[in-house]
Point group: C2
Chain length 186, copies 2
């Protein structure tokens, strides 16, 4: 059960490539990717669950609000285990809501609701599930960002501008560059 596997995503992974096999992963040892300053670690993807759900963490330093976006077919969970994260979400009637979430707090973003977050304490960690009837989107982060071998990212990874469109289309992400949060929580 401490075997490493080669998968289509990583030369070395603790996630078995074939479904149906139980496994354990130590803290931090999932499939890692860096996108801007956030470290995303995947512990289970669509392959493990018949595309029903996934499970990942997002850790990062205090930073800026990420770009507003929505998903046409993906529901998203934000569960904070460490630090503090401000979640911004707009409902389908255009009402905007923001909340500072700390350890043990939870936020739910339905499909089609514009959303963003801002990490407000260093070493914050979000547990995430992001999936819907059309599948799961955990590999978006390494498609737009970069897979990471080492535990600790060195410096931010800024994607080339031309990569945004294709990565977003492939993984049910619609960026909303003109979107504004009327209350930015400051």
């Amino acid at each position: 059960m401490t075997i490493e596997y080669a998968t289509r995503y990583r030369a070395r992974s603790h996630i078995p490539p074939e479904p149906g096999r139980p496994y354990f992963i130590e803290k931090g040892m999932g499939d890692r990717a860096l996108l801007f300053t956030d470290l995303i670690t995947i512990y289970a993807g669509g392959e493990q669950t018949e595309n029903t759900f996934n499970f990942f963490t997002c850790e990062g330093p205090k930073g800026d609000t990420i770009p507003a976006h929505r998903h046409a077919d993906t529901y998203e969970v934000f569960y904070i285990t460490d630090g503090a994260v401000r979640l911004f979400v707009e409902d389908l009637d255009g009402g905007q809501h923001e909340r500072l979430l700390t350890g043990g707090d939870f936020g739910f973003v339905p499909k089609n609701c514009p959303h963003a977050y801002r990490i407000e304490r260093h070493h914050s960690r979000i547990v995430g599930v992001a999936a819907g009837p059309g599948g799961t989107f955990e590999r978006f982060f390494e498609t737009l960002g970069t897979p990471l071998e080492e535990q600790t990212p060195r410096g931010p990874f800024v994607p080339e501008p031309h990569k945004f469109g294709a990565a977003a289309r492939e993984h049910d992400v619609l960026f909303m560059p003109d979107h504004e949060w009327r209350n930015d929580g400051r």
Copy 2:
């Protein structure tokens, strides 16, 4: 966004009854249920995700190994945020595996794999997702156990023996009373 709702499960809940609405829930304020000594708190259920996934926590004192069981159609995630939990799982070839999981560690149990856990430190907390192509099973805990209004359970809730069968059938749980763990981790 601090509204309380009446739903089919609770007279007062922070989970909106209709899907498509974003929401936040403070730590511990989801739909609670007590089963034996474990406090289960639901933050999102099948209604919120078109039956794709759910999200709950399970908190409990140091205790005994729960009854071995399997799910025909449900994949299950165990992610530990606090304490220590020993996870037992048998693969489809009959190989048995056990691992002591502590904060940040992860275990994955595919459908049809017999499994159980034992909480080995007081105040442990598991984050769980349990779902599959056939739906989600988060209401099993209150069907076999009991819904809980208060934050802190008073004493264990032991279901009447005749309730096990119906609750299990309704929620894709198959208890395996004759199953043995060859290595019980002690």
